[in-house]
C-alpha cells in the first residue's frame, strides 16, 4: 500500500522540468561516505487488508477492559467516552490540521482551544489556561519551571501521596532546571499540613494531589495555606472528573492547578496519547509554557481568535523561552472540551456522585467480606486502598482468572504495601460487578 500519486509519466515530466536525467542526480550533494546502499531491512509492504489483519491479530493478544471487569485505575480511568467525541475528532478538518499559525484558515481549532481554555479555567477556578501539555506528569514539571522563574527559588516540594510517575518525571526534569526535589511522606494515606509547611520553607512551589494517589481527600485548603505561608506557590494536581463535586483549587488559594485530562474524554489507549492541563492565576500569564489562544478582531470588527503571547514560546524567544513545547495535545484537549460540554455542570456533578456512591458501596462490601481498609478513617473519592491479606500481585492474577481485574498492586511504589490493592470504581461499574469483586477478593 502506498500513498503516492506519482506515475511514470509524471516522473519523466518532472525530471525534465528540473533539468536532470534521473532521480539519483537529485542526491548528488550527498557525500559517498554517508550513502545507504542496501534496501532497508524491513518486513515487506502490506496492503490495507493485510495491515488490518496483522494489527487485529496484535490487538487480540491484549487483555483489554472489554474482556474483563476492571477496577484498575492508578492514574488512568475507565470512564465512559460518548460517541460525539469520536464524531468530532474524526472530522478531517480537525484531525489533519497543523498548529494554527495562519489564523484566518484555522478559526475552528483556535476557537475550540479558546473554549477549552475557558472550560479548564471554570473547572479549576483559575484565570488562565494553556492549550494543553503532554500529560499529567509533564505539567508538573512545567509548574516547577514556572515557580522557579517566578520566585527565584531552587527547591520544589511534592507529597509522597502524589502519583509516583508524576514524582518521577519531576525528578527527571529537576536537575536541568537546577531544582532540588523534596518529598513529604504521607501519614495514614494523607498529608499533614504542618509537615508540608515545614518542607515548603524556601521552596519555589509545593505540589499536592487531590484526590491523592490513594483516592484519599487531602486537607487541600490547609495544604494550600501552608505553602502560601512559606511563600511557596501552592500547586494542586487534580482529577477533572472530581471537579463537579470538589472545590476548585483557585477558590482555596492555589497559584497553579494541573492534572491529567484522560478521565475527561480520552480512551485509556495503553497510556496515551492524552492531555495534561495547566491553569494559573492571572499574574502568571506571561510565564505559561505552551500555546495560548486569545480573542481579537479583524479590520471589519469581526471577532476572531489567534495564538497570542507567542513571544514566550520557543519559536521567537529561542533560548529564553518559557518552555520548548511546540506540538502539544490539541486533538485530545478538544475531546476533553466535547466531553465536558456533553456532560455540562449537572452531568459532571452526577458522574462524580455516582463514582463516590459506588466506591462507598464497594468499601462496605469489601469490609463485609472480611477485608481491611488501611485508610478506613479517610474520606475517598472514586478510588480506595484495601488490604488483601497476601501478595497483591498474586491476588490480581487469581482474580483475572475469574474475569475481574481487582485493582493496582501498590507494593511496587510504596514500601510495606505489598498486600494492598488500589481499587478504582467509576460510573461504568455496577452493583453486581462490585458484589462479584467482593466475592472474588474474599477468596
Amino acid at each position: 500500500m502506498s500513498y503516492l500519486a506519482l506515475t511514470e509519466a509524471d516522473r519523466d515530466a518532472m525530471l525534465e522540468a528540473i533539468g536532470v536525467e534521473s532521480l539519483e542526480e537529485l542526491f548528488a550533494d550527498l557525500p559517498e561516505g554517508v550513502r545507504f546502499h542496501r534496501p532497508l531491512k524491513l518486513a515487506p509492504a502490506l496492503t490495507e487488508q493485510e495491515l488490518s489483519a496483522y494489527f487485529e491479530q496484535l490487538a487480540s493478544q491484549n487483555e483489554h477492559n472489554g474482556s474483563h471487569v476492571s477496577f484498575l485505575g492508578a492514574g488512568l480511568y475507565d470512564h465512559y467516552v460518548p460517541a460525539v467525541v469520536d464524531a468530532v475528532l474524526q472530522r478531517g478538518e480537525f484531525l489533519t490540521a497543523y498548529t494554527p499559525y495562519q489564523p484566518e484558515l484555522s478559526q475552528g481549532v483556535l476557537q475550540s482551544i479558546f473554549e477549552y481554555q475557558t472550560a479548564i479555567c471554570e473547572l479549576t477556578g483559575m484565570d488562565v489556561s494553556n492549550a494543553s501539555g503532554y500529560d499529567g506528569t509533564t505539567v508538573a514539571a512545567d509548574a516547577c519551571y514556572i515557580a522557579k522563574h517566578a520566585t527565584g527559588r531552587s527547591k520544589v516540594v511534592i507529597t509522597e501521596a502524589t502519583n509516583p510517575q508524576v514524582r518521577q518525571v519531576v525528578k527527571t526534569y529537576a536537575p536541568g532546571f537546577g531544582l532540588k526535589v523534596v518529598e513529604v511522606p504521607h501519614r495514614d494515606g494523607a498529608t499533614d499540613p504542618d509537615e508540608f509547611r515545614a518542607a515548603a520553607e524556601n521552596a519555589a512551589c509545593a505540589i499536592f494531589q487531590q484526590p491523592n494517589f490513594f483516592g484519599v481527600l487531602e486537607p487541600a485548603p490547609d495544604l494550600a495555606a501552608a505553602a502560601a505561608d512559606a511563600e511557596a506557590l501552592p500547586v494542586a494536581h487534580v482529577d477533572p472528573i472530581s471537579l463537579g463535586v470538589l472545590e476548585a483549587p483557585g477558590h482555596y488559594g492555589c497559584a497553579l492547578a494541573i492534572g491529567e485530562g484522560q478521565s475527561a474524554g480520552n480512551p485509556i489507549s495503553y497510556g496515551g496519547p492524552h492531555y495534561g492541563f495547566l491553569a494559573a492565576r492571572s499574574e502568571f500569564i506571561r510565564r505559561m509554557p505552551g500555546r495560548i489562544v486569545g480573542e481579537t478582531t479583524d479590520a471589519a470588527g469581526n471577532r476572531g481568535y489567534v495564538l497570542t503571547l507567542q513571544t514566550r514560546e520557543q519559536h521567537i524567544r529561542r533560548e529564553k523561552a518559557t518552555s520548548n513545547i511546540t506540538t502539544n495535545q490539541t486533538l485530545l484537549a478538544l475531546a476533553g472540551l466535547v466531553y465536558l460540554s456533553w456532560l455540562g455542570p449537572q452531568g459532571l456533578r452526577e458522574v462524580g456522585e455516582t463514582c463516590t456512591a459506588l466506591a462507598e458501596y464497594a468499601k462496605e462490601r469489601l469490609v463485609a467480606a472480611g477485608l481491611e481498609l488501611p485508610f478506613a478513617d479517610r474520606t475517598t473519592f472514586k478510588e480506595f486502598a484495601v488490604r488483601v491479606g497476601r501478595n497483591a500481585r498474586d491476588v490480581v492474577r487469581d482474580a483475572l482468572a475469574r474475569g475481574i481485574h481487582p485493582g493496582y498492586a501498590l507494593g511496587r511504589d510504596y514500601p510495606g504495601m505489598d498486600d494492598v490493592l488500589l481499587v478504582a470504581v467509576t460510573e461504568r461499574r455496577t452493583k453486581d460487578e462490585i458484589d462479584r469483586l467482593a466475592e472474588v477478593l474474599a477468596g
Partner: protein, 500 residues
C-alpha cells in the same frame, strides 16, 4: 460565530451519567466541597454536534487541500490507521496490566523500535517522549548522563546549534541547563566549518543539527563536522524533523550522529490534530543505551517485557510507555511501505525539486542548489520593488485555496517562504500551487493592494495580533466579557510575521 458558552441555556444538557441506583451519595466534607458549579456549557446534543461541525468548516486540514508548511511534513494521514488505533485491544488496554496480558501491544512497540533503529542506523530506541521537542530534551538529558558517567559533565557545558535551527533547539538547550553556542551558515547553505572549528573544544558537550537543514539542504561537510566533534570527545544529536528526505537513502547513524529524535507526526504520518498529539522517540548508539528512559521494552525469547532494572537511566520523561495510540498509527504507516520507505523519501525530494524549478524565476533563491524535501525562497525582491512581504503572499495564497508555506523561517533568510510539498501530492496539485504563486507575483507588480487586503475569502480577515497580545483575553468572561470590536485597532502598518 458564537462561542459554545454563548449558546448555553440553563437546564439544557446532552449526556448524563448512570444514576447511583438508589445508593446514597456520601457527603463531601464542607471545606472540600464544590461551592459553585463550573460554568460548563449547557447544551443539547444536536446543537453540540452542530457547533463543532461548524467549527470544523472554519478550519483547513490536509484533507482540505495542499498544505506545504516547511519542516512540518504535512503528508496524507491514512484513514485505516484511525480504525486500527481504535481496536478495543489497543484503545481499551490499561498500561498497568501485567505484561503477559499486553503482549500484542508490547510486540508492536518492540517492532516499531526495531524499525526506527534500522531507519536511523542506530542501536536502541525509547518511544517515551511525547513530541519532537520532548525528544530533544531527552536527548540532551542523555548527553548529561553520558558525560556524568565519565566524570566530564562539569567540564562540558556547551551545545553548538546552527543559526538556521528550529526554535525548539535553543529552548531545549536552556531547559536542559546547557549553554548555547551559535555557528554560522556559509554561502552554500552548509555549516561554516571554519567558524565551527573555533567553537568546538573540550568544553563542548555536543552538536544539535538537522540534516538536511531547515534550508532543505544536505550538509556537504557532514563527515568533516562529525570528525570535529568526535575528535573533541563530544556527541552529535540529530533533530529528525527533516527525516522525510533521507529514509533509506542516508542514515543519521552513518552520518556520525549518536542520538536522534524522530517526529512520528511528521515523517510517519501521525495526524497533527490541530497541534498534537505527536510522538518524539529517540534512537541512540550502543554506548548511550544504558541511559535511556525507564522502562525499556525488550524481547525476551518469544515474549516481550518491560525492563525496569536500569540503574543508569535518566528516569522518566512522560507517563507510562509514551503515546501508544501514536505508535499504532505510525507503525501501520511504516508497515504499509516496508522497504519502499526509500521511495517515499525519493518522491518527497522529487516533488520539492519540481516545485522549486517552477518557482525559481519568480522568487529569489538564496542558495542555488538542488534541494532535498523542502526549499526556501525569498520574497525580498518583491518587497523591495513593490512593497509586498512574505506575509502578504501567504495571506493571498489563502484566496487561491492553498494553505501558505512557513514564513519568516529560517531567520537567516529575509522574507523567507519555506515550502515542503511532501511525497503524497500529485503533480497537478504542485502545478496548481506554482500557478498561484506566479499569479501572486504578477499581482504584486500590477495590483499589490490585492495582496495587502488578503485574505478576502476566509471567515475572518487579518486579525489584530497586537490587540490580542495587549488585551490578553484568553477565556470567555461571561457577563463581563469585553467587546473587542468596540476598542481601537493597532497602529496601521504594524505586522506580526510568524514562523512555524
Amino acid at each position: 460565530m458564537k462561542l459554545i458558552f454563548e449558546k448555553s441555556r440553563s437546564g439544557r444538557r446532552a449526556g448524563r451519567a448512570p444514576d447511583t441506583g438508589g445508593l446514597p451519595v456520601p457527603e463531601i466534607p464542607a471545606e472540600l466541597r464544590r461551592s459553585e458549579p463550573p460554568r460548563l456549557p449547557e447544551i443539547a446534543e444536536p446543537d453540540l454536534l452542530r457547533h463543532f461541525t461548524e467549527l470544523s468548516t472554519r478550519n483547513f486540514g490536509i484533507d482540505t487541500g495542499f498544505y506545504p508548511l516547511g519542516s512540518c511534513t504535512m503528508k496524507h494521514n491514512p484513514r485505516v490507521n484511525e480504525r486500527l488505533a481504535a481496536l478495543p485491544g489497543f484503545r481499551d488496554l490499561h498500561p498497568l496490566e501485567d505484561e503477559e496480558r499486553a503482549q500484542g501491544a508490547l510486540r508492536l512497540c518492540v517492532e516499531l523500535q526495531e524499525t526506527l533503529a534500522e531507519v536511523t542506523g542506530l542501536d536502541a530506541v525509547s518511544l517515551q517522549p511525547a513530541a519532537g521537542s520532548q525528544g530533544e530534551l531527552t536527548g540532551l538529558m542523555l548527553m548529561h548522563a553520558y558525560f556524568a558517567d565519565r566524570g566530564e559533565d562539569e567540564q562540558r557545558r556547551k551545545i553548538v546549534v546552527p543559526d538556521t535551527a528550529h526554535g525548539t533547539n535553543p529552548a531545549s538547550v536552556t531547559m536542559a541547563g546547557y549553554e548555547l553556542i551559535d555557528v554560522q551558515t556559509d554561502a552554500r547553505g552548509n555549516i561554516d566549518v571554519d567558524d565551527l572549528r573555533t567553537k568546538v573544544d573540550e568544553t563542548t558537550a555536543g552538536l544539535m543539527l538537522t540534516n538536511p537543514s531547515t534550508l532543505g539542504l544536505f550538509d556537504e561537510n557532514i563527515e568533516e563536522i562529525s570528525r570535529i566533534f568526535h575528535d573533541a570527545g563530544a556527541l552529535m544529536y540529530y533533530d529528525g524533523a527533516n527525516l522525510n528526505a533521507v529514509c533509506g537513502i542516508s542514515r543519521p547513524g552513518d552520518m556520525g550522529f549518536e542520538i536522534v529524535h524522530i517526529n512520528l507526526h511528521k515523517t510517519f504520518s501521525q495526524p497533527h490534530g490541530g497541534g498534537g498529539p505527536g510522538g518524539g522517540p529517540v534512537a541512540v548508539s550502543q554506548r548511550l543505551e544504558p541511559f535511556l528512559p525507564v522502562p525499556a521494552i525488550v524481547r525476551d525469547g518469544e515474549a516481550y517485557r518491560l525492563d525496569y532494572d536500569r540503574p543508569k537511566s535518566i528516569g522518566k520523561v512522560r507517563g507510562f510507555l509514551g503515546p501508544f495510540g501514536v505508535f499504532v498509527r505510525s507503525y501501520a504507516f511504516i508497515r504499509a511501505y516496508g522497504p519502499a520507505l526509500r521511495e517515499m523519501s525519493e518522491v518527497a525530494v522529487l516533488n520539492a525539486n519540481y516545485l522549486l524549478a517552477l518557482l525559481r524565476d519568480d522568487y529569489d533563491l538564496p542558495f542555488d542548489r538542488l534541494c532535498m524535501h523542502e526549499f526556501v525562497l525569498s520574497a525580498r525582491r518583491l518587497k523591495r520593488e513593490h512593497g509586498v512581504t512574505a506575509l502578504d503572499i501567504a495571506k493571498r495564497l489563502m484566496d487561491y485555496g492553498f494553505h501558505p508555506p512557513t514564513i519568516y523561517f529560517p531567520l537567516i533568510v529575509a522574507e523567507a517562504l519555506m515550502i515542503e510539498p511532501t511525497e503524497t501530492e500529485a503533480k497537478e496539485t504542485l502545478d496548481g500551487f506554482a500557478d498561484a504563486m506566479r499569479a501572486i507575483a504578477r499581482e504584486a507588480a500590477e495590483q499589490p493592494e490585492r495582496l495587502k487586503q488578503a485574505p478576502q475569502s476566509t471567515v475572518v480577515g487579518r486579525l489584530d495580533e497586537v490587540k490580542a497580545a495587549k488585551r490578553a483575553v484568553v477565556r470567555y468572561h461571561f457577563e463581563d466579557h469585553p467587546d473587542l470590536s468596540a476598542e481601537p485597532a493597532a497602529a496601521a502598518g504594524v505586522e506580526a510575521p510568524k514562523g512555524a
